[in-house]
Symmetry: C2
Subunit: 321 residues, 2 copies
Amino acid sequence: MKKLVAGIDVGGTNSVFGLVDETGKIYAEGSISSVKYKDFDVYLQVLCDGVKSLSVKIDEPHEVIGIGVGAPMGNYYNGCIENASNLVWQGTLPFAAKTGVHFPGIPIVLTNDANAAAIGEMIYGGAKGMKNFVVITLGTGLGGGIVVNGEVLYGHDGFAGELGHIIVTVNGRECGCGRRGCLETYASATGIKRTVYKLLADHIGDSALKNISFNELTAEMITTAAIKGDPIAIEAYRHTGEQLGRALADLVAITVPEAIFLFGGLAKAGKYILEPTRQVMEENMLFLWRGKVALRLSEINDKNAAVLGASALAWKTIKEQ
Amino acid sequence: MKKLVAGIDVGGTNSVFGLVDETGKIYAEGSISSVKYKDFDVYLQVLCDGVKSLSVKIDEPHEVIGIGVGAPMGNYYNGCIENASNLVWQGTLPFAAKTGVHFPGIPIVLTNDANAAAIGEMIYGGAKGMKNFVVITLGTGLGGGIVVNGEVLYGHDGFAGELGHIIVTVNGRECGCGRRGCLETYASATGIKRTVYKLLADHIGDSALKNISFNELTAEMITTAAIKGDPIAIEAYRHTGEQLGRALADLVAITVPEAIFLFGGLAKAGKYILEPTRQVMEENMLFLWRGKVALRLSEINDKNAAVLGASALAWKTIKEQ
């Protein structure tokens, strides 16, 4: 009988899930709202029913042998989501334990989104066979999944790898965390929007981006403009790569990965983000590592990346049992 | 029969060694010059003879069951010292393999000084029972030993944890590595000397440190002056703590240790280094970790610390066999 695992990604707006085999092939997918059910237990009931209903869509005989979950503030150690500011349920949510009631007898493992992305890269993507690497998720914010000697670096409390909140500029941009100058205020979809507006303030000359309000502007629009040769858009990516490249050079000194993978919305800009980041990273690295640490785009298909990452966590757990 | 291991610390000037039991008690010690023997094989012969001769000094029947080595640019993975700029022998030195010829049949393991210090803290010192912690060595330079889930973070090439070469100030002080603004240009014995001279340049008012030339000045003198209330010396420690505290706040976001231990010359300044470092680290940490990561002085007796650290690596290896 075909063995599958469920991958569940808990997002601020939607929760998506799928049944996945060990090669990363998704057999069925679904999603529910993350905001509609204010009661966490009701939400979990609907979510688990949704996961169970996927089996009906698959003709091939199969069994679900594990569940992996990626969630904001997901703690691998205890299976809880802890005080996630972008979810409607507050406090500590025993996600894995309560999901276990709906799926008795199979392993249910949970981690945060960036760690799930890293495990996805390791199991299905460009990090296959690597023991030491980093995945940087460039979405609304910036996340990091650090793999050391084949294992995710969780740290003492389960929340290590918070690369978005390294301070790269003293007294820099205001961050949602209450501090200033965090990496994600520069290197993220939100960060590059701020950089575009800073550049439009500082420079004269034409740019297609002058017609778009801050709230309307998306990273995708900036990428489209860059591809068309818009100087502000290209410069915005250069600034983004500069901040990211400096931070990655320091990260290399601390963890010495074999490769660093860029993942998520901004990574879709390809060379526009990759080249300036690589250049500044190389310039700022200690001589020991120059030319030795690969900076690459994630090889995980972005459309299903979150579900794949979560499912990879389940496969990793099952294989190690 | 009493079981002992040999701990060997290869320094730029001297190589010290000792026979140590599993509680950290040193039964005998010795040292040889690291500069006198230009031929590496001759040096190693003298060193190994020195280690063997220690046994004669010990009345109790014993056997040496392993050897741990701490060395600059020591690579745990291959047992080699690789291109250490402060040693007289250049290139890649197969230290562990060649030592094995003199001590057949017992494990011989090598790592760099800071990693040895971290293992020493774990086996004999304040990090007993901890799975995630960091040791910062504050000597002529700054080194880092990062322990993740009970194991030293070696990274892809064996040289991870190079915290002295995180860049803390863009276009900052010149560093011996050829770049600018590295943490160790501020937070180290050499760094605080530079800070004293900067403060003497910027400020008027009296200071005992005005009578000492740059080359004569030592971190110990600065500590003595601070204890006597010298404002320049106290301010120099505050500056040092500020740079170190910022870097440690970022390090916490990446690795989330349970505790960070300060070790080496500057750590002897006690509260003068600890308090400003802790204050700035707390101010700069993400809310998740405020008040939760201990910053402490190493509990390893500094006099024998290098030998103890190296011996701890041997004990760790033996216990895991």
